[in-house]
């Protein structure tokens, strides 16, 4: 299991990556359905990043108890 700081870093990177996928879909794809699929994938990646970021703080909090 990565340490708290690593989880935070991974979480932030996943959030940014998700956003870049969303932007890339706008630039590189042209149809609504293709864009929708990539935007959904980007948001899913952001949710994963949010989970990592949240876990880093939750784990740290449990560790102090």
């Amino acid at each position: 299991m990565p340490s708290g700081d690593s989880l935070k870093f991974i979480g932030c990177m996943l959030l940014l990556s998700g956003w870049i996928i969303v932007l890339a879909s706008l630039v590189m794809l042209s149809t609504l359905s293709q864009r929708a699929a990539f935007v959904a994938a980007g948001i899913a990646l952001e949710v994963l990043g949010l989970v990592f970021l949240t876990r880093s703080y939750t784990a740290a909090e449990r560790g102090t108890k």
Partner: protein, 452 residues
């Protein structure tokens, strides 16, 4: 760059009246925040609110307004990958772009001044939101610094993208027309005020960690009830007035809504707030067998937040549905953050502002009808194109703004620690930072059960 929407004399009078009433949103929120905190930090919370409003107004007008820009004003943009990326305003620093002597003769100047005035109140409201998550342990000095940083940089970026002709408001023009993607739509500031403020609250709550005594040794949450629920509920009513005013002014200034259509904003805001409150009331009644007053109040505000994304651009039925979902969502999210994620957010700001705000932005894509662009012209796009644009905005809030806000807060916390020391935590912020309590003639019960 689109020219600013022109205001008729009636629109102008109503817009100024709405701007005058806007501070009631901050007043209502302040009452809610201090009522949901402990009595030993009540004066500190109210003073922090005043400091936040003062600093945000000064810093925004002098610095932030230059980055935010105005409709029809100068902006920084670049061409890349076949699109024009308008990413930042380019006005003069220290409000030198505003010339008050020509407001009566120059409509563009008048519009710019009205926009600045609205942003000034909006940034104050947004910067107040994290106070709720940091109640009872966030020191005054870092509050002031975080507010300055937020007003100078964080808010202006997103405000420019949404309300001042930035790339999010021009998605249709840059990426294949309205049939493929509509412009991102947010008539009342659910994204740039509430979601950004709510994400800041999440970041602050993470950094501050929970209040002492909030969680037991085995990480079980204990209840630390708010000290004055009457003020909280009264604050909800006060906030309604300010919310309607802020939503109305923003709709008129940024989406060209005429004065006659403002009655729709009023009706929808009241319906959305009422539905949110009742939904939270029923949810808590079913789950806990008795309605929870503080969660019902949170539901009211969540309804206002979610409804502010669409304002008068949805039907009353859609406003009720949006508010009701926001109320239910808030009741569950508050519990999730407190019990499962160990995030101590005394006022429920993260759930109310970020959670309900994100839902409100998504709901615009589903229910929005006759949506306009920031140029005030109707956007003829299907539900898919609208939903896609709203999802791009939501992805930008989560994927770009949250890491940016969190890194800024971590950086600031490194140099100016956010959290009060152990003694201050026990004494309360009033005694620790102000030297006197909010209620000196009343006996304040100490946490005898918490080990010092």
């Amino acid at each position: 760059m689109n020219p600013p929407n022109t205001l008729s004399p009636t629109d102008l009078v109503l817009c100024i009246l709405c701007l005058l009433l806007s501070p009631f949103a901050a007043a209502g929120l302040a009452l809610i925040q201090q009522g949901l905190g402990r009595s030993r930090s009540a004066a500190h919370t109210m003073l922090a609110t005043l400091c936040v409003l003062g600093i945000s107004a000064i810093v925004f007008v002098l610095v932030g307004s230059a980055w935010t820009g105005f409709q029809g004003g100068d902006s920084q943009s670049f061409h890349a990958l076949g699109a024009q990326w308008d990413w930042l305003g380019r006005e003069a620093l220290f409000a030198q772009s505003l010339h008050f002597e020509s407001l009566g003769t120059n409509p563009a100047q008048l519009h710019a001044a009205l926009e600045t005035c609205l942003h000034m109140f909006a940034v104050g409201l947004a910067a107040m939101i994290p106070l709720s998550a940091g109640t009872d342990r966030w020191r005054l000095a870092p509050i002031c610094m975080a507010t300055a940083l937020y007003s100078a940089f964080t808010y202006p970026f997103f405000a420019h993208w949404v309300w001042a002709g930035g790339w999010l408001s021009r998605l249709d023009a840059n990426f294949g027309g309205a049939a493929q993607i509509a412009p991102f739509f947010d008539a009342g500031g659910a994204s740039l005020i509430h979601v950004v403020g709510g994400l800041m609250a999440l970041s602050v709550a993470w950094i501050l960690r929970p209040r002492r005594g909030k969680y037991t040794e085995d990480a079980m949450a204990t209840a630390i009830p708010g000290h004055n629920i009457v003020l909280v509920l009264f604050g909800c009513i006060v906030a309604l007035v300010g919310w309607i005013a802020l939503d109305s002014a923003a709709s008129m200034l940024f989406y060209g809504v005429p004065a006659a259509q403002i009655v729709g904003v009023i009706i929808n805001a009241a319906l959305s707030a009422g539905a949110g409150c009742l939904a939270a009331f029923l949810t808590t009644q079913i789950r806990y067998r008795k309605p929870d007053a503080s969660l019902s109040a949170n539901g009211w505000i969540a309804g206002l937040v979610a409804g502010s994304a669409a304002c008068a651009f949805v039907s009353p039925l859609a406003a009720i549905f949006t508010g009701a979902v926001a109320g239910v969502l808030t009741a569950y999210m508050v519990e999730m953050f407190e019990l499962h994620l160990l995030v101590d957010d005394p006022g429920g700001a993260i759930s109310v502002h970020a959670g309900a705000g994100l839902w409100g932005l998504f709901a615009v894509g589903i229910f929005g009808r006759h949506l306009a662009s920031t140029a005030g012209t109707p956007v003829n796009a299907g539900i898919g194109a609208h939903l896609l644009a709203q999802c791009v905005g939501i992805a930008t809030l989560l994927g770009l703004m949250l890491p940016f806000i969190h890194i800024c807060n971590l950086f600031l916390d490194h140099f100016l620690p956010y959290r009060v020391d152990r003694d201050g935590d026990w004494q309360g912020m009033d005694i620790r930072e102000l030297g006197a309590g909010a209620y000196p003639e009343f006996v304040i019960h100490a946490d005898e059960f918490i080990p010092r």
